[in-house]
Amino acid sequence: MALHPTFMIGYYTFKGGLRDRLVQSLLLTGLFFLLSTLVFSSFSMRQPLEVAINYSLATVQILTILVTLFLGLNLLSREIESRAGYLVMGQPISRTVYLLGKFCGLCLLSLLVVSFLGLCAAGGLLLVKLGLKDTPAIAWGNFFVAHIGIWMISLLLGAVTLLFTALATSAVLPFLMTIGVWFIGQSTQAVKNYLEAGLGEQQMPRFLNWLVTGSFYCFPNLSLFDFKTYAIYGLALPPLAVGYAMAYGTIYTMILLVLATTLFQHRDMT
């Protein structure tokens, strides 16, 4: 069976990720954290199950994103800096295939990570629930959607790393810039809401207003993917919000990929 080179590169990227020491240890640390948060939250006075869901989702999110960031650093940026990519680029394949292959591998890895951590979290939650009396049922559907949201964030950040890697010549720069995008992306919505609410009373300098509005549209709005509250309290998920987030994430990621591959075409691999 002859796989398309894109998937071959994806597959070997995936393999590289699995053999990455840093990632392995991050996953182990994640498991440890997950277990300890679950244990501690079950001692919580009020709503122990809600607290447990909240903590475990937050842990899964942080770890999935961290692992994705490090994978992006080690498997994308480092590879291009270390010239290991020459070997692949010396083959009769285009750079677009190379970059998309790398991205495919990254998608697969973060899917694996989020599923692994999610399953561990689910197992832990079941245990917590067993030890408690009179707790409401866990909204597993919402729990699942919350993980999809986490995966979307990591895909989007993976594409951000790809874009910065296509531009920069050092490996650490894309990594740091992606972390920057992650932080900004998580707060754009909050800052915008805050400014809009406060505008009536205090006069904002106009340029600041522009800056916030501009960055709101430029940087990814990561709070769109946050479905944790629905999972914690078992609220009904608004299909429109979920659909909008998925569409937004997909389109944003695709734009990043197109930009990254276009820029990468014109780059000197020295």
Binding site: P5, M8, I9, G16, R19, L87, G90, D268, M269, T270
Partner: protein
């Protein structure tokens, strides 16, 4: 038949430093490598050899001019379909084993599984890596990585090999191996383009050479012509009796290159050979060697670079033949 490699006014300048100063790494390179030829690409450090090779492999874009492989634009991925490449500092996915690496490369070249397996076994044997076939590349020595790079370049039985310093990092056995591989491939009608600064390799392996000096192409042609310049000068080594002095007799007007005990080496003109031979025999001496004067590649380099010093000093400083 289309040429294996053609470049036309190929130029590359890099922007350097904060002030983005342009540095010309390569200027107006025009070479044409025929199919079946072994072409040596020579130049000192920083001459622009790797720059040229990276342009040929589509890794960097020329600032001016064009390059073709088998008539196809070098920047097009399809141009690399018949090419095997060894980079200057081969660097592989170190989490893979040689077998896995070659499988990945073969798959990217759309080779059938069976061919990949056969070639892998054959090539790892050829470069003496069979023992390490299933070990992670992470633990390989420099020479082992270089050997693996050679195997990787040969994987798809390419018609053109572009090798950037194939001998670097190899032990004498490895060098001999590479030389043998290059000769074998030439026998099979393959084209080989390689850069090097190791002089014996060039003389024994190359049909033609291109010499690059600070990005400028200074010479393209036969290596013999480059080393035996016109002028018909010869070098004669004679063994003379103890009391003999070079200042006396027939050899006095000639240039003494070197002398040790009773051996003397002179540079002479072709027309003087017979009279000198007679004179030497008349003085009870004997002729040890007589050979056409040839420039060493180092000299050729220095001449082309415009660093030429008086010939005497350099020749006297060079060790005995």
């Amino acid at each position: 038949m289309t040429s294996a490699i053609t470049t036309s006014r190929l130029s590359k300048s890099y922007k350097k430093g904060v002030r983005r100063q342009q540095v010309a790494a390569l200027a107006n390179l025009d070479i044409e490598v025929q199919q079946g030829e072994v072409f040596g690409f020579i130049g000192s450090n920083g001459a622009g050899k790797s720059t040229t090779i990276k342009i040929l492999m589509g890794l960097i874009k020329p600032t001016d001019g064009q390059a073709w492989l088998f008539g196809q634009q070098a920047s097009a991925p399809a141009a690399r379909a018949r090419v095997g490449y060894l980079s200057e500092h081969p660097h592989f996915y170190d989490f893979l084993t040689p077998v896995e690496l070659l499988r990945l490369l073969g798959a990217m070249r759309q080779m059938p599984q069976q061919d990949i397996r056969q070639q892998t076994e054959k090539l790892l044997g050829l470069v003496s890596l069979s023992e390490a076939a299933d070990r992670k590349i992470r633990g390989f020595s420099k020479g082992m990585v270089q050997r693996l790079g050679i195997a990787a370049a040969l994987l798809d039985d390419p018609d053109l090999l572009i090798l950037d310093e194939p001998m670097s990092g190899l032990d004498p056995l490895g060098r001999h191996l590479v030389a043998t591989i290059i000769r074998d491939l030439q026998q099979q009608g393959k084209t080989i383009f390689f850069s090097t600064h190791i002089i014996p390799d060039i003389e024994t392996l190359c049909d033609r050479v291109g010499i690059l000096v600070r990005g400028q192409q200074k010479y393209v042609g036969s290596i013999q012509e480059a080393l035996y310049p016109a002028g018909n000068r010869f070098e004669i080594t004679v063994r003379m009796p103890e009391q003999w002095r070079p200042e006396q007799g027939i050899l006095a007007p000639h240039h003494l290159l070197w002398h040790k005990e009773s051996l003397y080496k002179f540079e002479i003109a072709e027309t003087d050979i017979s009279s000198i031979a007679q004179g030497v025999i008349a003085s009870n001496g004997s002729i040890v060697t007589l050979e056409p004067k040839r420039r060493s590649l180092e000299e050729l380099f220095l001449d082309l670079s415009g660093h030429s010093e008086p010939t005497t000093e350099r020749t006297l400083a060079s060790p005995a033949p």
